[in-house]
């Protein structure tokens, strides 16, 4: 099979069979692209994962773009990325046409009442797992706690401050601290 359809189909298969996204997809991508197709090496796979963690967007999409580009430039990147998105796009599009009607059925509405509670717990769990993995140093902890309190207040009082504003503020503080430290360092070195 020529490479473009192969990229598209391989990533479409990964997109179709991974639930929950994120790290579940990494394992499948590794299996397909490193073990079976040998499109990238294991070390490259590690590199992508690191890059993916520092760039926005779903890790699966970052991986697809990376592998596709390595194999066949822009066309390859596009084929792999469209491939990984397309299956869930079709599934969700169909569900979205019917969900409103589904919710008028009493027992399904009751089921979703229960599911609402589970969603809160899952988000909480994701945050707890991230806190466990994060560096327990004063600066990240302070930023995390300040952001938590700020966001909770924004939610409770329905303030018109977006989470993006908070993120930009945190980034600005961190950058300012780094620059301030650097200039202090240079002054000390100059004397």
């Amino acid at each position: 099979m020529s490479i473009l359809p192969d990229l598209f189909l391989t990533f479409a298969k990964i997109g179709l069979f991974t639930f929950g996204g994120g790290y579940a997809m990494i394992a499948l991508i590794e299996d397909a692209c490193v073990e079976k197709k040998r499109w990238i090496t294991h070390d490259e796979m590690m590199d992508v994962t690191v890059i993916a963690e520092s760039t926005p967007g779903p890790i699966a999409i970052n991986c697809a773009t990376y592998v596709g580009f390595k194999q066949k430039g822009y066309a390859g990147a596009a084929a792999a990325t469209v491939g990984i998105v397309l299956p869930s796009f079709c599934i969700i599009f169909m569900i979205s046409r019917f969900l409103d009607n589904f919710l008028e059925i009493a027992w399904i509405a009751h089921a979703f009442q229960g599911i609402r509670i589970a969603v809160g717990i899952l988000i909480l769990d994701a945050a707890v797992k991230m806190i466990r993995k994060m560096q327990k140093r004063p600066f990240p902890l302070a930023v995390m706690i300040a952001s938590f309190i700020a966001m909770l207040l924004v939610d409770i009082f329905a303030l018109r401050i977006s989470s993006i504003t908070l993120m930009l503020a945190a980034a600005a503080v961190s950058l300012a601290l780094y620059i301030a430290k650097g200039s202090v360092g240079r002054e000390a070195a100059g004397k």
């Binding site: 890790i59 009751h110 609402r116 509670i117 980034a171």
Partner: protein, 188 residues
């Protein structure tokens, strides 16, 4: 115009969604509520559906919101918008800026962003649970059924790995909560 709003709204989500699938949920919630596209309640249903279907949660939610607001073209617009920033950034890094992520200034920005996102995700989870249990904050009324269900589901989800040495998957928890919802809200 709705297509332009979807495009800009989801470009913002795609551009700031550091921190994996759950990092995007507070952003999507912001965008969707500020445009008044969908209620908070419907949004949690969408999160559950996105979690229970294949593919990255962020992409699923973009497709869903786009479709609910402007049909097929809306779904296409929102999905493309949410994917585009990460697609472009990876290409940029591969072609031009192999060392970009090692730059100390970029590192400083990321050091601020990452803990902030964790705080935002934590706040979103806490707020969703509180909202379910005590209603709106301007008019507090405790819903005992929701409090008990939250306690039981949390005990099952966080307790099971300790007892059975086997974690319950997110889809597993959604399945159990759906069954509990049918029994509790339907029969009682």
């Amino acid at each position: 115009m709705i297509y332009l709003d979807l495009l800009i709204g989801f470009l913002k989500v795609g551009l700031f969604a550091f921190g994996g699938a759950y990092g995007a949920i507070p952003l999507i919630r912001d965008v969707v509520l500020s445009y008044g596209w969908i209620s908070d309640e419907m949004l949690t249903y969408m999160i559950a559906v996105s979690e229970s279907t294949p593919g990255p949660i962020m992409v699923n939610m973009a497709t869903y919101v786009g479709s609910s607001q402007a049909g097929f073209a809306g779904a296409l617009t929102a999905t493309a918008a949410v994917v585009l920033p990460s697609f472009a950034i990876i290409l940029l890094i591969m072609i031009l800026l192999k060392r970009l992520l090692k730059d100390p200034y970029v590192q400083a920005v990321l050091r601020g962003l990452k803990p902030c996102i964790i705080g935002i995700i934590l706040a979103t989870g806490v707020f969703m649970i509180l909202q379910r249990c005590i209603g709106s904050f301007s008019d507090i009324s405790v819903d005992p059924t929701a409090v008990i269900m939250t306690a039981v589901l949390a005990a099952v989800y966080f307790g099971l790995p300790k007892i059975a040495k086997r974690a319950l998957s997110p889809i597993g928890l959604i399945g159990i909560s759906a069954a509990a919802g049918i029994i509790v809200y339907g029969l009682i």
